[in-house]
Amino acid sequence: MDVREGPSDAEVVARVLGGDREAFGLIVRRYESGLLRFATRVLGGRDAAADAVAESLVRAYRHLASCRDPTRLRTWLYRIVANRCKSHLARRATGDVSLDDAPPIADPTDNEAALERVEQLAVVEQALATLSSEKREAFVLKHVEGMSYQEMAAVTGERIPTLKMRVHRAREALLKALEDRS
């Protein structure tokens, strides 16, 4: 884990609960990129992810007193975002992601490696989009957000064996998609 400058999560939470509303901005700036990345991969779009993360952070502020262990603020925030993403997906007809954001367009002046990365990312994103939302969420939490299975259980409320099964199935689907492409 990166060494973070500035006050600890527990200190910031205490300040916010003590009435320093502006201190919540520290939490937002500290976690928004990871939360946006997570939500984007689960929902398949940046705009929907930004909505989900913004709504989640507002909810987190209102219910900050219920975060009884500020040392686990990260998993608490991810749980709120995970639930918000589930609700967003529930509002879609099928729950599938549509990848409605345009895929990254490679600049013709990019070198070959960069172009290949763009192509590969598109393949991986498409493979991810074919997974069920539960498997997609599990894979992203494990391999993108770098969580342990214990942390994932705290975020999702699911049992560890269930989460492992979802991650394993997601890996298999992803590998097949990559192999089919190549």
């Binding site: 749980r79 639930n83 589930k86 609700s87």
Partner: protein
């Protein structure tokens, strides 16, 4: 005195009645599709759905705008998910029963800290926790320390008290406090009385009615 006795069922999901049919005419049309989808999602996740339907109906009765109704239903769904996660952490073998998920969600909404709720879940494996949680919440609502309140109620559980008798325990503490004792003295006195804590006093007379789910649609009043 009149007996106003009304027919039909008390509040419980009516078998065979779809969510949409319960919402139509009572919840703004713009909110119904999203609320329905959230309820379906809850059902797929094994969560209780009645709290979500009830929240939407409440919003309709209070003349709340559709977006706020949807937001409130989403909030309830999030709360139910958190409640189930807590039950699993507290030791309940998944899948947690919908009734217990609703109970724990209610306790958290009343302001009980999650670790305290987990303690109660662990103290009452495979038993309903509603009365225990509300007994603690009653004390917390009067600014008593949550952990001390939980310890007293858990002691009452170990002394063999269950259900409404646990509410008698919290009532007894509040009565002692009203007599001028400190909270510590009140806890100590009630703990010494376990399991023979006096029951809460009984209410007076009135007109007995039965809550019903009427078939006719009535005009909802305008909230302030």
């Amino acid at each position: 005195m009149r007996v106003a006795l009304l027919l039909a069922c008390v509040a419980a999901p009516l078998a065979g009645q779809s969510v949409r049919s319960r919402l139509e005419g009572r919840v703004p049309a713009a909110a119904i599709p999203v609320v329905d989808s959230l309820v379906q999602a809850a059902g797929r996740e094994g969560l209780p759905t009645e709290p979500l339907v009830g929240k939407a109906l409440e919003g309709g009765a209070k003349h709340v705008v559709p977006a706020l109704i949807v937001s409130a239903v989403e909030t309830r769904l999030d709360q139910l998910r958190s409640a189930r996660a807590l039950l699993v952490r507290g030791g309940d073998a998944p899948p947690a029963t919908p009734a217990e998920v609703a109970t724990v969600s209610g306790a958290l909404r009343r302001g009980l800290p999650p670790p305290v709720v987990e303690r109660v879940v662990g103290a009452l494996p495979n038993e309903p926790r509603e009365s225990a949680l509300h007994a603690i919440a009653d004390l917390v609502a009067h600014r008593l320390d949550a952990d001390s309140s939980a310890s007293l109620v858990i002691d009452a559980i170990h002394a063999g008290l269950r259900g409404g008798r646990l509410l008698d325990v919290s009532h007894a503490v509040l009565e002692e406090q009203q007599r001028g004792r400190t909270w510590a003295e009140s806890f100590a006195r009630v703990r010494d009385e376990l399991p023979d804590v006096p029951p809460a006093p009984k209410p007076g007379e009135g007109t007995v009615q039965r809550a019903r789910r009427p078939s006719s649609v009535s005009k909802a009043p305008t909230p302030p």
